[in-house]
């Protein structure tokens, strides 16, 4: 039996190693999923969902469409490496099968074809395939070139920062960057010797043959190429490039409906390994405005992987969600962090027995409940406006948290204290259900999110007051009066990205003032910096984040800033440059304006501003 030459060993052993490793580790992760998740896999694996997953893998993992739409050069770079390499493997196998006239060709024969096959391609199909391989290699090399430049000067790529690398990453990166140039050199040198090259490798080979002693270079180059491949495979498990295989698995599981849970399980591990450390999440993170540069999602995921995540990094995040829409892999970044927070604080004790002491008032029977929220009590203009609006619309309601009420529970959840939050939820839920109400109106988006998602208030419609006021206005229960004031609307994180409510506040505001459209709005909106989810950040750092957002708003020269969250209002109100008002206040302001002005007498913008703010 003829043994293949020994230079194929690094590649072959590496390939075997990584294949076994991946099968084992993915197997372990899937075994760590819950029963329901496992059944999801079983039920969906042979359905259309798998085809949809394959389509997504194609468009995102290979073509990187999401990165393309954000940044074409970056997208090209990732695509050329990923898609180019994929095609090299596929077309290479087709080429080998075509040459050997058999479907079972060992991997090394396809990868190192230009070494083993010393005759130039004779058939037309062979010639076309050889040319395609050369062009594909050029395609990949162009991406490698861009990657070199990006590491040197990331600003050129429109990225302000680039991720810092660990040793494992560096080894794998170096190996990856060497693979394709070495392949090119090896194939060209062989082409120079045996004349078996194609449209790019042949001319290069001829040039090299005229300059260098190519005979003695051939073996070392093929060894180097094989070695770099082998090194890459061996370094893969300890590098960011694990994301290549793991991302594929993750996309399938995600299509089957599996999500990150509240406890660490196989899927959260899969998501962590799917992070490619591309660094796109660094650009949208506002913490950099406060010079906090080591707590962003990419670094936290890295620490989770290396099991050295400290509380200082884990809890120093606003959970604003700005990084999530940008992630090309679509990782559930907030949930991954939340799971870690739950794990970190699971020993902490809380006891809310005092809620049962009878001090809390008995629920009266009512149709509508108004829950202002803890923070709203510190911005009483909102409560006053809501009370007046209820009176104008003649709504009978129960002001549930006027006095002696438990917090809604979400601030506890944001720092990982889900078990403690459940006790508060149970208590409040009992009160709400006991009142027989059909509608719950809340002024605080933080409360809104938890009432909507975790309270299980079936039969009760939960609305943020902007939604409710829009409804009242549409039902003609509120007078309409458009004030000549230019307003920028600030999307609160918990209402916007957190609950998907972008349009209702704007529709409502547009009836009462002139809403200006700005660049960073809706899904791309800024966080005010006041978030309760971050317990480590200092006040002056919050101020820096707020000031950056405020600078952007001031550049549109609005008459006032509109918010829908008492915490945002309190955070922005510290600025003396711009009046800040909640939507409820603006609606009430307009109604009062209408009532106090004579018919036909409409104040100008300047007069109105003088009257309101002096």
């Amino acid at each position: 039996m003829e043994f293949p030459p020994s230079f194929i060993l690094p590649f072959t052993i590496g390939l075997l190693f990584i294949s076994c490793f991946l099968v084992i580790i993915v197997g372990i992760w899937i075994s760590q999923l819950s029963k329901i998740d496992k059944s999801r896999i079983r039920n969906n694996i042979f359905t259309r969902k798998s085809l949809q997953a394959i389509r997504e893998i194609f468009s995102e993992s290979l073509l990187h469409r999401k990165i393309f739409s954000k940044n074409p050069v970056l997208g090209y770079m990732h695509m050329s490496l990923a898609f180019g390499w994929f095609l090299l493997i596929v077309v290479g196998h087709i080429d080998a099968c075509n040459h050997y006239q058999t479907l079972s060709v060992p991997a090394y024969k396809a990868i190192f074809m230009r070494y083993f096959v010393t005759e130039p391609a004779s058939t037309l199909s062979g010639k076309i395939l050889a040319a395609s391989m050369d062009l594909l290699l050029l395609f990949v090399l162009s991406g490698v070139m861009l990657a070199y430049f990006k590491r040197l000067n990331s600003r050129m790529f429109g990225m302000k920062k680039t991720t810092r690398l660990k040793t494992g990453d560096r080894i794998a990166l170096s190996a990856l960057w060497l693979i394709f140039p070495l392949r090119f050199l090896a194939e060209s040198v062989s082409a120079g010797i045996h004349h078996n090259g194609s449209i790019i490798s042949q001319p290069t080979g001829n040039m090299l043959a005229s300059l260098l002693p190519v005979q003695s270079l051939e073996m070392p180059l093929w060894w180097a190429y094989s070695g770099s491949l082998g090194l890459f495979f061996f370094a893969l498990p300890v590098s960011r490039y694990m994301h290549i295989p793991v991302e594929v698995v993750m996309i399938f599981l995600r299509k089957y409906g599996i999500k990150v849970q509240k406890r660490i399980d196989g899927f959260s591990r899969i998501q962590v390994y799917s992070c490619s450390r591309c660094g796109i999440c660094l650009d949208s993170c506002q913490m950099t405005h406060a010079a906090i540069k080591d707590t962003q999602s990419v670094y936290v995921l890295k620490h989770i992987r290396n099991k050295n995540l400290t509380d200082e990094k884990l809890f120093n995040c606003l959970l604003c969600g700005r990084c999530q829409p940008d992630c090309p892999v679509g990782l559930e970044l907030n949930n991954l962090r939340m799971t870690q927070r739950i794990e970190s604080t699971k020993e902490y004790n809380s006891s809310y027995e005092y809620l049962k002491d009878g001090k809390v008032a008995v629920s009266p029977q009512t149709e509508v409940i108004y829950f202002a929220g803890c923070m709203t009590h510190l911005t009483p203009a909102i409560i006053k406006s809501m009370k007046e609006i209820f009176a104008v619309a003649d709504v009978k309601y129960w002001f549930m948290d006027e006095d002696k009420t438990a917090c809604c529970g979400r601030p506890l959840m944001q720092v990982g204290q889900f078990e403690a939050a459940k006790k508060l939820i149970e208590h409040n839920r009992e009160r709400i259900l006991a009142s027989g109400a059909k509608k719950l109106v809340v002024s605080c988006p933080i409360c809104y999110k938890v009432f909507n998602e975790d309270y299980a208030l079936s039969g009760i419609s939960v609305q943020h007051h902007s939604e409710y006021l829009l409804e009242l206005m549409a039902d003609k229960r509120l007078p309409v009066h458009k004030m000549p004031l230019r307003v920028v609307y600030h999307d609160p994180c918990e209402l916007g990205r957190g609950s998907g409510i972008y349009h209702q506040p704007r529709l409502l505001l547009d009836e009462y003032a002139e809403v200006i459209s700005i660049k960073n709005e809706k899904e791309a909106a800024f966080c005010c910096g006041g978030s309760l989810a971050n317990i480590k950040i200092q006040m002056n750092e919050r101020n820096q984040i707020r000031d950056k957002a405020l600078d952007e708003y001031l550049s549109y020269q609005p008459d006032m800033l509109a918010t829908a969250c008492p915490l945002c209002k309190k955070t922005f109100a510290k600025s003396r440059d711009l009046p800040v008002h909640d939507i409820a206040e603006i609606v009430y302001m307009a109604i009062r304006q209408k009532n106090t002005s004579l018919p036909g007498q409409n104040k100008t913008s300047k007069e109105l501003k003088m009257e309101l703010w002096g």
């Binding site: 510190l378 911005t379 009483p380 006040m539 309190k570 109100a573 510290k574 003396r576």
Partner: protein, 340 residues
Amino acid sequence: MKHIVIIGGGIAGIETASALTDAGHWVTVIEKEAQVGGKLNNWSYLFPDFTPVDKIKSVLQEKCSEKDFSVLHQTEVRSILRQNGKFSIETSGEQQLEADAVVVATGYELFDARRKEEYGYKIYDHVITSADLEQLLLPNGDLTVAAGENPKRIAFVHCVGSRDEKSGNHYCSKVCCITGVKQAIELRKRLPEAEIYCFYMDLRMYGKHFEELYREAQEKYDIQFIRGRLSEASEKIDKSLLIKAEDTLSGRPLKMNVDLLVLLVGMEAGKGTTTAAATCGIGCEESGFLKTTDSFLKSNFSEQEGIFLAGSCTAPMSVNDTILHARSAAQEVNNWLLRK
């Protein structure tokens, strides 16, 4: 004869103008309002001895009419340039003035209590500031609250807009504590039957006779002092206010219904001062007040040679401190001009 321009016609501005005129110089005062006196026009009786403000005002007015300095009313400074060792000043009235020295006496502004939203100023009917109360304490002032009756319970809140990270002012405004004690006593004289409380974090009785006044407030006028910071106020249906504080000395949260809430607002560097800083090229402290060369021997000197500072544009000050500072400024300007 040297010409000095003074920006601001309040106590500091007029006092400096008067002293410099006495020293033989020609002075022009630029004042943005229609009358001089600045914030003195807002007060009725001065601490600690209840001197009627008219006594000071009349002296100021006398100085304005009898002395030889001119006052440009309703005028503001547009720009100041240094040219040939003098200052070239353009005013909003299209005038060009040339001065050998400039004195900045732009004064202060009171903290806008609307920024402390949780106390409900301009949201609830019966929350007022110390400045509002000062007007209401005049003989014809109307102190009635809901249902046209006199308030039975009044609470003063110290440190509103001062010593507060959330208001953006970290410093102590010095004079609000004594103002609170003074107004509490005045209120007692008007409403002998009312209960009057002062909610404080610390009581800063720094000046002459201040501590004695505090003692008198407790002893003679039955003012109650509660150590605890008010966190919020809410309005009941009858328009009375429910306030929440902690009685730190007994270590328990405290709730109280009051008919009138008075916010002791602190001093801030006003728009006039900020503009003056930019126009004159003088730096401001973190507090917003103007930087003086030092706090001991050169507290009237600014970073710019020839530009001097007088009064509460440099720091929160009482009326008597302002007069002293203004006279000292005049002395420094005079000495500097003589040396030139």
